[in-house]
C-alpha cells in the first residue's frame, strides 16, 4: 500500500513535469514544423512534415527584405546595449558609491521612468524624432529605446555596484585615483558578469520592441524584425503567407533561445535583481 502510494506520487509528478514541458515547448515546435512545410502541406495538420523543405527559409530572404530587417534589428539592439551600458556604468557609480543630496529621489525617479507606458510618450517622442530629422531611420529607434533600457540598466547596475568592496575604492583613493579611474579601471573589470547580464536583457528588450519601431519607421527597408513579421503580407490581402511568417519567426527566435539558454543563470539573476529588489 505504502509502496503503491509512493509510485502513484512519483507518476503524478512525472506527469506534471511532462505537461509543463509540452505546454512550454509545443508552440515553438509547431512553428518549426510549419516552417518546414510547403504548399498545401501547410494546411494539413500533421505532427511532422512528410517532405520537410527549406523553401520557406530561402523565400523569406528573397521575397522579403528580411535580411535587411535582421540587420536593422542587430544594429539597433547593439547600439542600444552599448549606449545604455556606458551611461548606466557612469550613472550607477555615482548612485551607488557617492553620497550626495537628492540621491534617493533620483533613484526613485529612475525607477518611475521604467514604469512609463510607451504610449504615454509616443506623440511627444514622434514630434521629437521628426524635429531631429530622424524619422524612418535607425537612430530614432536607438534613441527612443533608451526610455526602457536606460532606467533598467541603471537600476540593476546600481544594485551590482553597491556590492563591490569599499576597501578596493579606499586603496584607489589613497593611490590618488580619480572617480573616473576608480569607475573604469578598478570597478569595471569586476562588473563584467553584471555587464553581460544587463546587456543581454537590454538586447532582448530592444530586439523585441514593437510600438516605437512600428510608429517611427515607414519603409519596409527601415523596419526591424518584429514589425516586418507583424506586417508580412502575401499576394493578396486576405492570404497570409503563414509558411514564410513561421520561417521568419524561427529565424528570429533561435539565436535568442540559444543566448538565453547559454546565459541562463545570469539572466535569472538579472531579472530578479531588476524586479524583486527593485
Amino acid at each position: 500500500m505504502r509502496q503503491a502510494l509512493f509510485w502513484l506520487k512519483k507518476l503524478g509528478f512525472g506527469l506534471l513535469v511532462t505537461v509543463i514541458t509540452l505546454y512550454t515547448l509545443f508552440p515553438f515546435y509547431w512553428a518549426v514544423v510549419s516552417s518546414l512545410k510547403q504548399g498545401s502541406a501547410l494546411f494539413v495538420v500533421e505532427a511532422w512534415p512528410r517532405q520537410p523543405a527549406w523553401s520557406n527559409y530561402t523565400a523569406v530572404f528573397t521575397e522579403q527584405p528580411f535580411g535587411r530587417n535582421l540587420f536593422n534589428s542587430v544594429v539597433v539592439a547593439t547600439s542600444v546595449v552599448l549606449v545604455s551600458l556606458f551611461l548606466a556604468v557612469t550613472a550607477s557609480f555615482a548612485l551607488a558609491r557617492i553620497r550626495f543630496r537628492g540621491r534617493s529621489l533620483l533613484l526613485l525617479m529612475i525607477l518611475a521612468v521604467s514604469m512609463f507606458p510607451q504610449i504615454a510618450v509616443l506623440s511627444g517622442m514622434y514630434e521629437l524624432v521628426r524635429a531631429l530629422g530622424l524619422y524612418n531611420t535607425l537612430p530614432a529607434l536607438t534613441l527612443s529605446y533608451m526610455l526602457f533600457t536606460l532606467p533598467f540598466t541603471v537600476w540593476v547596475m546600481t544594485t551590482f555596484m553597491r556590492e563591490l568592496p569599499k576597501e578596493l575604492e579606499e586603496a584607489a583613493v589613497v593611490d590618488g585615483a580619480t572617480p573616473w579611474m576608480i569607475c573604469f579601471n578598478v570597478f569595471l573589470p569586476l562588473l563584467k558578469p553584471a555587464l553581460v547580464t544587463t546587456g543581454l536583457l537590454a538586447f532582448i528588450a530592444a530586439w523585441n520592441e514593437f510600438l516605437f519601431a512600428l510608429t517611427f519607421t515607414l519603409s519596409q527597408e527601415a523596419r526591424t524584425v518584429p514589425v516586418a513579421i507583424a506586417l508580412m503580407s502575401g499576394a493578396s490581402q486576405y492570404e497570409l503567407p503563414w509558411g514564410l511568417i513561421m520561417a521568419a519567426s524561427v529565424v528570429v527566435t533561435v539565436p535568442l533561445i540559444a543566448m538565453v539558454l547559454i546565459f541562463q543563470r545570469s539572466i535569472v539573476s538579472g531579472l530578479t535583481a531588476g524586479a524583486v529588489k527593485g
Binding site: 509543463i20 505546454y23 512550454t24 508552440p27 509547431w30 512553428a31 494546411f43 495538420v45 551611461l87 557612469t90 550613472a91 555615482a94 548612485l95 557617492i98 553620497r99 550626495f100 537628492g102 534617493s104 529612475i110 525607477l111 514604469m115 507606458p117 510607451q118 504610449i119 504615454a120 510618450v121 506623440s123 511627444g124 517622442m125 521629437l128 534613441l143 527612443s144 533608451m146 526610455l147 536606460l150 541603471v154 553597491r162 568592496p165 569599499k166 575604492e169 579606499e170 572617480p179 532582448i204 523585441n208 514593437f210 510600438l211 518584429p226 513579421i229 507583424a230 519567426s249 528570429v252 535568442l256 533561445i257 538565453v260 541562463q264 539572466i267 531579472l271 530578479t272 524583486v276 529588489k277
Partner: protein, 315 residues
C-alpha cells in the same frame, strides 16, 4: 531625501571623508558629472515627450494639419469619455489584465513549486520554461495566431478530434474569442517571468520550518497555505504588481492578433489608433494621458512595496 534620511545605512558606499572637506566636495561634483549624460537622455526620451503628450491632450493637434495646435481645454477628454470604443478598450484591458495575471500567478506558482523540488531533469525543465520568455511578443502572437487559425489551426484540429467542439472556431475574428486567444498567448509568454520571481522567493525559505511541519504531520496543502504562501507574500505582491503594470499597457498582442478591430482593442491600441490612423494627435494624447494616470497609480503602489524590500537589504 538626503542620505541620512534613507532607512538603509550605506556600509559599502564611499569611505566618508569629513563632510565639507575638499575631497567630499570633489566627489559630489564628480557624481553629478557622471549622472549628467543619463539625466539628459532621460529628460529627452521621458520627461519632454511626456510633457508634450500632456500638452497635446489639451489641444486640437492633428497630423493632418500642420498649423500649430490650439488650446481646446478639456474637449478631448470629453470626447474620449463619451466614446463607446474607449470604454470597450478599457473593459478589454482590465479583463485581460485581471484574467491573465491571475492565471500567470497560479500557473507560475505551480511551476515554481515543481522546480523547487529536487528531481532528475530539473535543470532541463528550468531551461525549457525560459523558452517562451525569450520569444519576442510579436513572434509569439504570430505563432499562436497560426495555431488558432480557424481553418488550418492545430488547436481547432485537436479540439475537434477530442470531440470538444463540433465545428471549427474563428478564434481571432470573434471579439469574445479573440480575448481568449490573447490571454492564452500572454499567459504562455509571461508565466516564465512569474515562475522565476516566485522560484527566487521560494529558494530562500528556511528548510527548518518545513522539517518542523513534517514532524507535526501537516499535509502539503496545509504547509503551502500556512507556511509557504505567507512567507513569500511580499515578493509575490511585487511580482504581481509588476505584471499588472505590464499588462495594463499591452499593445502588441492586441494589435497583432486581432488586426486592429474596434471590437477588441486595448487602451494603448485605442490611443495609437486615434493618433496615427485617425491622425487626431490631441484625442490620442488624451487617451494616452488617462492610461498614464492609471499606471501611475499602480506605480506608486509598487514603489511603496519595493521601497520596503529595498530597505530590508543590507546595501
Amino acid at each position: 531625501m538626503t542620505g541620512s534620511a534613507s532607512p538603509a545605512p550605506d556600509s559599502s558606499a564611499a569611505p566618508p571623508p569629513a563632510p565639507g572637506s575638499q575631497l567630499a566636495r570633489e566627489r559630489v561634483r564628480a557624481a553629478w558629472l557622471f549622472l549628467l549624460p543619463t539625466l539628459v537622455v532621460l529628460a529627452a526620451v521621458a520627461g519632454w515627450p511626456l510633457f508634450r503628450t500632456f500638452w497635446f491632450a489639451f489641444t486640437n493637434a492633428s497630423l493632418a494639419d500642420p498649423a500649430p495646435p490650439e488650446f481646446v481645454g478639456l474637449e478631448n477628454f470629453v470626447t474620449v469619455w463619451g466614446d463607446s470604443d474607449w470604454w470597450r478598450s478599457v473593459r478589454n484591458t482590465f479583463l485581460f489584465t485581471g484574467v491573465s495575471v491571475t492565471l500567470e500567478t497560479v500557473l507560475g506558482m505551480i511551476i515554481a513549486l515543481t522546480l523547487n523540488t529536487r528531481f532528475r531533469g530539473r535543470a532541463i525543465l528550468r531551461a525549457a520554461v525560459l523558452v517562451p520568455w525569450a520569444i519576442p511578443t510579436v513572434v509569439s502572437a504570430k505563432m499562436w495566431g497560426w495555431m488558432f487559425n480557424d481553418v488550418y489551426g492545430v488547436i481547432n484540429e485537436m479540439l475537434l478530434s477530442a470531440g470538444f467542439i463540433s465545428g471549427p472556431i474563428a478564434w481571432t475574428v470573434d471579439p469574445q474569442l479573440s480575448m481568449v486567444a490573447i490571454i492564452a498567448v500572454d499567459v504562455w509568454k509571461t508565466t516564465p517571468f512569474m515562475t522565476l520571481l516566485l522560484l527566487a522567493a521560494l529558494q530562500i525559505l528556511p528548510e527548518e520550518l518545513y522539517e518542523a511541519a513534517k514532524l507535526d504531520g501537516a499535509n502539503p496543502v496545509m504547509v503551502f497555505f500556512r507556511i509557504t504562501l505567507p512567507l513569500i507574500r511580499g515578493p509575490m505582491m511585487v511580482a504581481i504588481i509588476f505584471r499588472v503594470l505590464d499588462a495594463l499597457r499591452v499593445f502588441d498582442l492586441f494589435y497583432v492578433l486581432t488586426s486592429n478591430s474596434s471590437e477588441s482593442m486595448s487602451m494603448a491600441v485605442y490611443a495609437r489608433q486615434q493618433m496615427f490612423e485617425f491622425q487626431d494627435l490631441g484625442l490620442g494624447a488624451a487617451a494616452a494621458s488617462l492610461l498614464f494616470g492609471l499606471i501611475a497609480l499602480f506605480t506608486i503602489l509598487y514603489m511603496a512595496l519595493a521601497r520596503d524590500s529595498v530597505a530590508q537589504e543590507p546595501a
